[in-house]
């Protein structure tokens, strides 16, 4: 694989992991704009656990899971105040959380402060790609479970889910916490791949992009974040390539205008995201060649 393709694939893998981390809460109706916060926490805690100088010197295969556990714990604790908010207020609360993390880390000298921090162990594509695949498989499994069904029910109607026995609060905490663990996994891998981290990289723009991947990809099925992240990682890059091939510099210069226009267009054309439940149902039925439905029962009249 060429170096260019490989570097693009790594970015795609990281974006996919981030997207699933934000998708799990989104599937239960939570808008989480705090991705950068969990990425920062994951990247820095794994880097510190892994650092032979000034850290614990654990190998990356221990430091990454430990970092995830730590982030899951943090997420669990902050989920209680954060989940008291909803909608746009939850967006603001999670955003504020990410800012707090960033401000915290930048003031910790043993993590390099504003100068950033080098990361010891290197995670190449042979690590990042399988982990990303694992995250995708895990998320598909998870959304197929009864717990996943409760997430989707909560997304649609919390009070009815409650009346059928769902503990809405616990389910929301679980979605938020597991999502944060996945997001921090992406952050840890980011650090170990580029071997250098600084808080400025993990800014609110990153959080916005990740939330966009998820919302535009669609929150109804586990395909959404995969398609969303792939689509939005590829488009700016494709536009750049087109510009290079044709020698038309203006395309590269204005590609983010295109990008923005595509986002607006998608919100108009597919407000529920690129991939919806109905679409998956239709496609899978065609694939299997099943008849669309059993023959209607006698006397079946639907007005």
């Amino acid at each position: 694989m060429s170096g260019y393709l490989e570097s693009q694939l790594i970015i795609l893998c990281l974006n996919v992991i981030f997207a699933y981390g934000i998708f799990l809460p989104a599937a239960s109706g939570q808008l989480n704009l705090g991705a950068a916060g969990f990425i920062t926490l994951g990247a820095y805690s794994s880097a510190w656990l892994n650092a032979s100088m000034g850290g614990l010197g654990l190998p990356m295969f221990f430091s990454i899971p430990l970092a995830m556990l730590f982030c899951a714990f943090v997420a669990f604790v902050i989920s209680f105040p954060i989940l008291r908010t909803r909608g746009v207020y939850m967006v603001l609360a999670t955003f504020a959380f990410a800012e707090v993390v960033s401000g915290f880390v930048i003031n910790l000298d043993f993590l390099g402060g504003a100068a950033g921090m080098p990361v010891d162990d290197h995670a190449n594509i042979n690590v990042v790609l399988p982990v990303a695949l694992g995250v995708v498989l895990f998320s598909f499994y998870f959304m197929a479970t009864r717990l996943g069904l409760t997430f989707r029910s909560i997304h649609d109607d919390e009070s009815v889910a409650t009346l059928f026995g769902v503990n809405v609060r616990s389910a929301k905490v679980a979605a938020f916490t597991i999502g944060a663990a996945l997001t921090s996994l992406g952050g840890a891998l980011y650090g170990h791949h580029y071997n250098y981290i600084e808080t400025q990289t993990f800014n609110v723009l990153l959080s916005i992009y990740i939330l966009l991947y998820v919302l535009l990809g669609g929150t109804q099925t586990a395909w959404g974040p995969l398609v969303g992240a792939a689509f939005f990682t590829a488009i700016p890059e494709l536009l750049r390539q087109v510009s290079k091939e044709t020698g038309e510099q203006w395309i590269a210069d204005t590609r983010f205008i295109f990008f923005g226009a595509i986002i607006v267009l998608m919100m108009v054309v597919r407000p529920e995201g690129l991939v919806t439940r109905t679409m998956v149902e239709r496609l899978s039925r065609r694939d299997k060649g099943d008849p669309p439905a059993k023959t209607p029962a006698a006397g079946e009249v639907s007005s």
Binding site: T145, L149, T150, V160, T162, L163, V166, S302, S303
Partner: protein, 260 residues
């Protein structure tokens, strides 16, 4: 075993100074088909909301099959053997028909292994089969994988009944299940409820269609302005002066049903 499956004692609820349920007591006999009727705004839906724990009650006691559930949290009440449908359809619009019914099974599947079982990856698992069978049994076998948002009103209305049934309640609370159904659908609904009742489930039904009530129910409780004004058989209800008074001048179908 107790003769009544549900005992409501001196139930009281007000919203911001307005007393909506005022000292209401009645019992629902095990295996009966009890109707809860009354003019619009009488408080019927509120009674259901209080029974299922949507709102806390101000005063009174709710006993379900001998167990006091007055302070049991809303999400645990279904496990005591009570589930309901809603006056305005409250299915999950983005879930398929079968998935909606599988939500109804949740009360029976709250252990960790059940929660982590991949329902969606194994289409022939026992939960999915049970849900599909329950739908087919109700004459709704046509739409297993469809997202419910696109289904006709009458179909959605009956899916709600099936969803409530699969929690295997001792008592099923139905809030205007026949409203908006055409004649054929109403007949199918009645047949479905007859079978539900024959299988031993007690029915408590809020319904405006008196014809439907007379066909289905053996006992009637009438509310007006949050108070119980009558309790007896469907045959007696039309002749009760207080009930006639309550319905006088209201646009309810009670008057029409009476004339017919």
């Amino acid at each position: 075993m107790n003769a009544s499956v549900l005992d409501i004692t001196r139930l009281r609820k007000s919203f911001g100074g307005l007393t909506v349920i005022d000292d209401v007591s009645f019992s629902v006999t095990r295996g009966s088909r009890t109707a809860l009727i009354g003019p619009n705004g009488a408080g019927k839906t509120t009674v259901f909301n209080l029974l299922t724990g949507v709102y806390p009650i101000d005063d009174g006691r709710i006993v379900l099959d001998g167990q006091d559930i007055t302070t049991v949290p809303a999400n645990d009440r279904v496990t005591y053997g009570m589930s309901r449908s809603f006056q305005n359809i409250r299915l999950m619009p983005h879930l398929s028909t079968v998935e909606n019914v599988m939500l109804g099974q949740h009360a029976r599947a709250r252990s960790l292994p059940s929660l982590l079982f991949p329902l969606g990856l194994t289409p022939r698992n026992k939960w999915a089969r049970e849900a599909a069978d329950a739908l087919a049994d109700a004459g709704l076998g046509t739409y297993p994988g469809q997202v419910v948002a696109n289904l006709p009103y009458g179909v959605q209305k009956r899916i709600e009944v099936v969803r409530a049934m699969v929690s295997r309640p001792k008592i099923l609370l139905l809030d205007e299940p026949a409203a908006g159904l055409n004649q054929v659908e109403t007949a199918q609904l009645q047949a479905l409820l007859e079978r539900v009742s024959a299988s031993g489930t007690t029915l408590l039904v809020v319904e405006h269609d008196m014809h439907f009530v007379r066909n289905l129910c053996d006992h009637v409780v009438v509310l007006n302005f949050g108070r119980k004004i009558f309790e007896g058989t469907p045959a007696q209800v039309n002749d009760d002066p207080a009930v006639r008074e309550a319905y006088l001048g209201s646009d309810s179908s009670m008057g029409a049903a009476h004339a017919s």
